[in-house]
């Protein structure tokens, strides 16, 4: 009985030390809370904005615009040289808008109403 108790204690110590190696889980919060927190933070800065990202299309060529129907392969190869068009480390444009997957509470309500 004493030996079983000792084994259990060893198991507890081992489990506790192993658990610390994993990234902590987080609790579920409402989907609009991150968007709201960002919007509140950005409200003090005139030029900053928060928006929800809806559709994503990879961009291959600097300065290009992309459409969902554009074939990825079309922009890849320059037919004359056989090389891809991206040869130099040209800096890329990044929006100042903070984009999040979360929708604003108002947008989330519209989405929920459409489903209902």
């Amino acid at each position: 009985m004493k030996r079983i108790s000792q084994l259990f204690t060893l198991g507890l110590i081992a489990l506790t030390s192993f658990a610390s190696h994993a990234e902590s889980a987080s609790e579920h919060a409402s989907k609009g809370s991150r968007h709201s927190a960002l919007a509140s933070a950005h409200s003090t800065t005139a030029s900053a904005q928060v928006a929800s990202g809806v559709v994503v299309v990879p961009l291959l060529v600097v300065g290009s615009t992309a459409s969902a129907s554009q074939a990825v392969g079309e922009s890849l190869i320059d037919t004359a040289s056989g090389k891809h068009k991206i040869d130099k480390h040209e800096p890329l444009e990044i929006t100042e808008i903070t984009i999040t997957v979360d929708r604003s509470p108002a947008e989330q309500m519209k989405k929920s109403e459409k489903k209902g």
Partner: protein
């Protein structure tokens, strides 16, 4: 009586193990919203300044001192430079991040999710990012692999925190990232071929945690398994991916971005 008390203590500990998890989409932030947003934007701008159309990104979800030897980050994903349509119809340029996240309700399962830098860094332990910029050719192949849906085809929802990259029994975020990288390199979504090449050319990170501890984790915690391992416990890490790409000349740079400063990963 002592035996009964130990049983009760073990039972209470097991109940607390529902907080035991790997890569998850975080809902709570340790930092103020504007701090996370500012940091996320600075990471984007750094990668964009280097001209990265696709890069590997990593974050730290718990104190670095608590990680096993050889691990610097806790979650890894692929960032792709994109045109993003916003909810108001406007279009903006930035990075979209392709993740494998562990399910919060069922840690033994995962799902693929696309999010953005502020979402990626929400809930991190420290504002620190790992960035691997592949060679231009590999960047294009990565974009092609994501655009053609190979990341979805290669997804195995059976999750283990310490998944063995040499087989497809379980998968974690870093192994999935490696699978997509190899799918891009070999221009295939044939998992058998990807695993054969992984075993031939990739050196995983040894997990220096005793098998006894791991076995206990295996028995009591969902999302941790040793079933897919042989004698050694080895898994994919962000650093091991960087070393793999560096070894075969497929990497431009691998850095750590923290407090506005950039330092080499190795």
């Amino acid at each position: 009586m002592r035996y009964f008390k130990s049983l009760i203590f073990l039972f209470i500990l097991l109940l607390s193990l529902n907080t035991f998890a790997g890569s998850q989409q975080n809902s709570e932030s340790k930092f103020a919203a504007e701090e996370v947003a500012s940091f996320a934007k600075s990471v984007e701008k750094y990668a964009a300044k280097q001209g990265a159309r696709a890069f590997i990104i990593a974050r730290l979800g718990q104190p670095e001192k608590d990680l096993p030897h050889g691990f610097q980050f806790t979650h890894t994903a692929i960032a792709i430079y994109s045109q993003i349509t916003l909810d108001n119809g406007d279009k903006a340029k930035g990075y979209a991040i392709y993740n494998l996240y562990q399910n919060a309700e069922n840690p033994a399962k995962s799902a693929l999710m696309t999010d953005y830098p502020v979402d990626f860094f929400w809930g991190v332990e420290s504002l620190k990012a790992g960035i691997i910029i592949p060679s231009p050719d590999l960047q294009i192949r990565l974009i092609e692999a994501i655009s053609s849906g190979k990341n979805k085809t290669l997804h195995n929802p059976n999750y283990s925190l310490i998944a063995n990259p040499f087989n497809n029994q379980f998968q974690n975020c870093t192994e999935h990232t490696l699978n997509v990288i190899n799918a891009a390199i070999y221009e295939t979504d044939d998992m058998a071929r990807i695993k054969a090449n992984t075993e031939a050319y990739f050196t995983p990170q040894l997990v220096k945690v005793s098998r006894f501890k791991l076995a206990l984790g295996n028995w009591f915690a969902k999302g941790v398994s040793t079933e897919d391992h042989g004698r050694k416990i080895q898994t994919t890490s962000f650093t091991s991916i960087a070393q793999y790409l560096h070894e075969f000349g497929l990497m431009e740079e691998a850095v750590v971005f923290e407090e506005g400063e950039v330092s080499r990963l190795f």
